[in-house]
Subunit: 407 residues, 4 copies
C-alpha cells in the first residue's frame, strides 16, 4: 500500500502546476475579456489566448495526457492522470489548454478503442491535434435519462445509411465554434437484448437535418464557448460506416466510456473544491469582524476542518477508483465509480457553498468565481447519472456482496 | 392558542390568491418577455404589464398591505400580513404588483415611523402611490458588514448640510428606472456611544456625487429591473433636514426596520419553498424511470416528507415571530426574529435544491424557475445578516435566559 | 392566530412546574436509590416515594390531566394538555406522579371512549385512581410491525370466549408490580376487510397462558419498574365481553388511540430536549478550556442556536397537531401527527447527543441523565411507527393534496 | 500509488480472519455467559475462554502484532497492522485474544520506546506475554481534559521518590482482574516550559494511596472485565525510577503514543461499522413489510449506499494516516491523525444508528450487539480528544498550509 504518486506522475504534476501558474492563471482575465457568453452561440468565438496556450502546452509535452493506455504502456495510467485532472479543475479553461476537455476526452477514448481506421483518421486525428472539437448527444428532454432504457431517439439502418431521429439536450460542446463532429446515441433494435439495442453514430457538423435549437444555461451561465445544446435530429442520414463498432454496441461503448470520464469529472471537482477552500481560507484570514479575523469566529474552524476532511476523503476514494480501473477494469470497479460520482460533486457543492457564505455578498456576485464553481459542481450531481441512480447501484452491489458473505 | 388566521387575514388571503392566479401568474410570460436583464441597468425598463397590474391590485384593495400598524388599528398586524407575504413569494414580481417589494416596504415603514412631515410628503406619499421606488444603501464592499461597527461610510454634519462619503454595494432597487430616492447609512459621530454613531439620510436621485458604478449579479442574474448596485458617494451634500429622525439615530432605526422586514423576507421564502415543492411533487408524479413514477422511487418520498415538515416548521416559527412583534415588540422578539432568519433561507435553499435534483437537467436551466429561486434563497442566507451572526445572537440570548433559570 | 396558551393552561403549567420543582425533582435521588433496575423484573418494586407524590399530586388537582375531552368540556383540550406533557418530560418518573404515564394514558382513553360500562368499572376506575397499571401488547418480534398487516397473533372467538395466541414484545409497562391488565391486539378475521380484521382484548393479569418471558433492555436500561416485556400468549381464554367495542374494531381503536398518544410522546420528548439543552448550556458556561468557557469556543454557539431553533420548531409543530386534533379531529390531522412523530424524537436525539458531547466523559456515564435521555429519544424513533413509515405517509398525503392543486 | 495491502499483510489478514471465524466468533456466546458485567468490578472475572483463545492465537503467530517497528524491521508497519485492527473491531473481545487491546497496546509501545531496561523487564515482558494487563490514568473529572494544560494531578519528585496526588477517571482497563500496573500522568513542574511540565509514572497495583472508587458505565454498560475507573491518588509514593524517560517528558511521550493508538481505535471502529452494515444489509434482505424486503423500501438503498461510501472513505483516510506515520512520522501526520479521529467515530455512530433503525425494537435491545456498538462509537467521539479539539487543530494546520500557498 503506497499513497505516493509515481515518479512519472509527480514530474508531470510539477510541470503542469508550473505551467498553470506561469501561463494559464495569468491569462484568465484576458480569456474572460475575449469571451462572449451571451445566449446566442452563433456569436461565440474561441478566445485567441486559448489557442496560443494550446500550442505552448503541446510543446511542453502537456498534451492529451488523458489518453490513458495500460495496454501498450505509452499512456499514463488512470491513477497517474488523476492528479493532473485535479489541477485542471482549479481554473475553468485549463482542461482545453491541455486538450483534455470533456466531452472530447471521452469521444477520443471511444474512437481510440472502438473506432475504425477510417473513423480514427477522419476524427480522432484532428481531435488529438486540437484543431476540431466534438459533442456527445445522449440525454433527451422528454424522458428521465437516468433510466437509459427510456431513450426515444432512433438510429435505424436503412441500406448503406443509418437514419437518425430524435431530440437531444445537454449536448455539451456543441456550441463551440470548432465543433465538427458529434456522437449520437439512439435505438437501433428496440426488440433486441436490453444491452444490444443502441448504436453510437458519428455525425459530421453540419449535416442536413441536424438543428441546434438553443443553448441551455446552467444557473444562468451558458458556458461559452462550448455550451450545452438542445439539438433536433430530423431524418439525419449518414453512411452506415459512421456507426462506431457496428450497430447495437452503443450501450457497451457507453459503459466503457464512463469509467475514466467519471474519474476526470470527479478529480476536476476536487480541484474545484480545493480552489474554493483556498479562497475560503484566504478570506477567513483577511477579513475581520467583531475584532477578529473570521477564521477565529464561531464555527468557521469547523467548516474549514470539515472541508479538508471531505476533500481528502473524496480524493482518496477517486484515486482508489482510478487504481481499480487500472488494475481490475471498469466492470469490476462499477460500485467504486458510482461511489465517487456521488461523493465528489456533493463535496464540491458543499465546500463552494461554504466559501460563498464566508465571502458575504461578494460570494454570489461575479467578483469571485464561486457562483460559477457552484454551478459546475451542482450540474454534476445530475450529469452522467444523478446521485440517486448511483446510490441505488451501490446498494445493489453491496447487497450482492453481502449476500455472499456471512453477516 | 389558535393556529387559524383571523377572518380578516383569511379574506385577504383568498382575494390575493385569486388575484395572483387570475392575473399575475398568467402575466408572467409577458413580464419575462418585456424584461431586459442584461448587465447594463441603464437599458432596464419597467415592464408595462406590471403597471397595469398595479392599478388593478390597488383598485382591488390589495395595496400597501405590508404597512402594519398596531397602534391605530388601520393596518394589518404582522401575523395577519405574513400569509400575504408568503403568497407573493411564489412569483417573483408579485410583491411589486401589490406595492409590497423590498426595500421599499422597509423604507416606507421607516418614513412612516420616523420621517418628518416634509419627508413623508415628499417621499412616503409617492412610494405609497407606487409612482416612485427607492433603494437602501448600508452594506459596504470593503468590510465585513456582518459587524455593523465596521461601517466606514461617513455622514458628517456641516452647517445646514450633511456630507456623505463612502462606497456601498448590494444597494437593492437602485437600478430600477423609477428609483428616485435612497436611504444612506453612515457614521456621523465615531466617538459617540456605540448605538448613537450612525445616521440615516434621504438622498434624492439623481444627486451630484452619487455614482452608480455597476449592478451586481446573483448567480449570474441581475434581478432587473430593480438590481443590486455598487454606489460611490463622493462628497454628496444634502440639507441636514434629509436626516431621518436626526443625526445619530441610524442604528435605532435600523433595528426597528429589520423586524417586520425579516418576517416579509422569510414568508416570501416560504412561498418560494412551497412553489419549489409543488414543482417537485408534480415532476415526481409525471416522470417515470425504471417503470415507476419518480415519486415511488428510492428516497423521493422521504425528500417530499422532509420538505413538508421543514416548510411547516419554518412557517410556524415565522408566524410566531410575527405574533411576538405584534404582542411584545421587536426588541423582545429579537431571538425569535434571528431564528427565522436562519431557518427560512436554509429551508428554501434545501427544498429548491431537491426540486432541481428531481428535474434533472431541466432543473438548472431556465425552463423552470428553480435556478432563479435558488439564487433568491441563497442570497438571503447573507443579506440582512448572515446565518452565523444570527446563530451567535440566538445563542447569546439563550445563555442569558438559561443563566436566569435553574438547569 | 394566537400563540399564547389559554389562561386555564397557563395556570396549570404554573402549578405543575411548581409541584415538579418543589416535590418531584428533589425526590429524584430517593427514587433512584429505591429502584432495582436489574434484568429480573420479579424483583422490581414501586418506589414508595412515587406513591406519596401521587397522593399529593392528586390532592393538588394535578391528576389525570391527560384525559382530554372536547365533548363535554370537563377535560382539557389537547393543545392545553400539551405543555403539561412537556413538563413531565424533564424528569423520568414525573408522568407517573400525575397519573399520566404511557401506556396507561392510551389505555384509559380507549376505555373511556370504547369501553363497555363493565369494562370501565373494572379497569378504567382503578387506572384513573392510580391503584393499578396496565400494558399494551401489539408489537411482535417475528414480523416487521411497521406494517400492521403483518400481525400474526390471533384472537379467535370461540363461543362465549375469545382465544388469544401469539408472541408479543415491547409490551411496555408489563413489568410494573402494579400491572393488572393488558390490552392485546390480534387477528380475528383474516379474510375480513383490511381494517376490520383485528380485535383488542382486555386480559387481566395474571391469566393462565400469559407468560412474561423477559424484559427487554433499551441501550442496557430495563426502565424499571415498568419495563418492556416479551410475552407469550398460549391459548389464553377470556370471556368475549373482554373484547373492546366488539370483535373486528381493533384497527379503528388503534388509530384513534394514536393521535393524542403521539402528542404526549412528542411533548415529553420536547421536555427531554429542553432538559438536555439546559444541561448543555450550564456546562458550556461552567467549564473552561483554552482559557475560555466552552460556550465561547468554536461552534458551540451554533450548536446552542440550532438546538433552540429545532426545539421551538418541534414544539410549535406539535402544538399545531394538537390543535388540529381538537378542531378537526385525528383523521384530518394524520399528516400533521406523522410529522411530529418524525420531528420530535430526532430533535431530542440530536440535542441530547450534543449535550453528551459537551459533557465529555461525564456525558456517557450515569453522573448526568443524558445517556438515559438518549435512549428515551432513540427508542421513540421506532416505537409507534418508525420514522420511515411516517415519512412515507406524509409524502402520500402531500401528493394527494398537491395532485388536487395546480403546481 | 498502490491500494493493495502488502503480501505480508494479506497473509496475516487471511490468517486472522480465519482464526476469528473459526475460533473467536463461535466463542462469543460462551464469553458473554461467563461475564459478570455488574457495577461491582471486584466481582469481575476473566472468562476462561479468553485465556484459552489467547494461547492458541499466540501459537498461531497472531500475537502482539500491534507492536509496529519500522526501525529494525521486525514488526509490521502501521499500514500493515491497520487491517488487522479492523478485523478485531468486528467482535468486542477479539483484540484481547491477540494481545492487542487498548490501553495495553499504547502502554507497551511507550515502554518499548521510552522504558528503561528495568521497566521493560518488570512490566513490558509480562504485558507482551499477556499475563498481566495495565491501565492509563490521564483524564480528570474536574477539568476539561480536552485542554491538556488544565491537568491538576501532580507528580512531585521528593528525593528518591515521586509523590502522586489527584483524581483521575476514565482510567480504562483498571477494573480488569489482571491489571497490575498503571501509567499515571501528572504535573511535575508547573512553571516549566509548556511541553516539559508533565511526567508519566508507572504505578504497580496495588500501591498504598491508590483507591479505585468506582467503575463508570458507558450508556449503562460497564465494559467488564476491563472497565473505566475513577481513581484517587492520595500521596502515592513510588521510586523515582518509575518515571518513564525521566521527569518532564510526559507530554512528549503522550504525543508519540497517540498516533498509532488512534490508527488502532479508528480501524477498530471501521470494523464496528462494517459489522453494523452487514447486520443492516442482512436485516434488509430478510425482513419484509408492505410486501417487499425492507431493502427495496423507501430510502433504505440510499442508507446502504451512504454507509458503504462513508466506510470506504474512512478506511482510506485512516490507511493514509497510518502510511504517513510509517513514512514521515507522527509529527508530520498530526493533521491527518486528527482527521481520522473525527471521521471514524462519527461514521461508526451513524452506520450503527442506521442499523438500529432497520432492526426496529430489536436494534435497541441486547438481542443484537448494536446498542453496545453504538456506545463504543459514541465514546470515541470523546476519548483521545473530542471531535471539537481535533477539528480546531485541522483548521489550524490548514490555515498554516494555505498561508504559505497562493489562494
Amino acid at each position: 500500500m503506497d499513497f505516493e504518486h509515481s515518479p512519472k506522475a509527480r514530474a508531470l504534476i510539477a510541470r503542469m502546476r508550473a505551467f498553470i501558474d506561469a501561463r494559464v492563471r495569468p491569462a484568465e482575465a484576458a480569456y474572460r475579456a475575449e469571451l462572449d457568453n451571451g445566449p446566442d452561440w452563433r456569436n461565440w468565438r474561441q478566445p485567441a489566448v486559448v489557442e496560443a496556450l494550446k500550442r505552448d502546452a503541446r510543446e511542453a509535452g502537456l498534451w492529451n495526457l488523458f489518453l490513458t493506455d495500460t495496454q501498450d504502456g505509452t499512456g499514463l495510467s488512470n491513477v497517474d492522470y488523476a492528479p493532473l485532472a485535479e489541477l485542471t479543475g482549479s481554473i475553468g479553461f485549463a482542461a482545453e489548454v491541455f486538450n483534455c476537455s470533456a466531452p472530447d476526452t471521452g469521444n477520443m477514448e471511444v474512437l481510440a478503442r472502438y473506432g475504425s481506421a477510417a473513423q480514427r483518421e477522419r476524427w480522432l486525428a484532428p481531435l488529438l491535434d486540437g484543431t476540431i472539437r466534438s459533442a456527445f448527444c445522449m440525454t433527451e428532454p422528454d424522458v428521465a435519462s437516468s433510466d437509459a432504457t427510456n431513450m426515444q431517439a432512433t438510429a435505424i439502418v436503412d441500406g448503406d445509411a443509418i437514419v437518425l431521429n430524435g431530440r437531444k439536450w445537454w449536448s455539451s460542446g456543441i456550441g463551440h465554434p470548432h465543433c465538427r463532429v458529434l456522437i449520437f446515441m439512439g435505438l437501433t433494435d428496440p426488440a433486441g437484448e436490453r444491452h444490444r439495442r443502441h448504436s453510437m453514430v458519428l455525425v459530421p457538423l453540419p449535416t442536413p437535418g441536424v438543428t441546434i435549437e438553443r443553448m441551455l444555461p446552467v444557473f444562468g451561465d451558458f458556458d461559452a464557448p462550448h455550451g450545452h445544446g438542445e439539438v433536433v435530429f430530423d431524418n439525419v442520414r449518414v453512411p452506415v460506416d459512421h456507426v462506431i463498432a457496428g450497430p447495437g454496441r452503443g450501450f457497451e461503448i457507453a459503459q466503457g466510456r464512463l469509467g475514466p470520464g467519471r474519474i476526470h469529472h470527479c478529480m476536476r471537482l476536487i480541484g474545484v473544491a480545493e480552489h474554493a477552500l483556498a479562497l475560503l481560507c484566504a478570506r477567513a484570514r483577511s477579513r475581520s469582524a467583531f475584532g477578529k479575523p473570521l477564521a477565529g469566529l464561531g464555527g468557521n474552524a469547523d467548516i474549514i476542518a470539515d472541508a479538508r476532511i471531505a476533500i481528502d476523503q473524496a480524493r482518496l476514494l477517486t484515486l482508489r477508483a482510478a487504481w481499480m480501473i487500472d488494475t481490475v477494469g471498469v466492470h469490476a470497479a462499477m460500485s467504486e465509480i458510482s461511489q465517487i460520482k456521488v461523493v465528489a460533486p456533493n463535496v464540491a457543492q458543499r465546500v463552494v457553498d461554504a466559501a460563498i457564505q464566508i465571502h458575504g455578498g461578494a460570494g454570489v456576485s461575479d467578483d469571485v468565481p464561486l457562483a460559477r464553481l457552484f454551478a459546475q459542481a451542482r450540474v454534476l450531481r445530475l450529469a452522467d447519472g444523478p446521485d440517486e441512480v448511483h446510490r441505488a447501484m451501490i446498494a445493489r452491489f453491496e447487497q450482492q456482496r453481502q449476500a455472499g458473505a456471512a453477516p
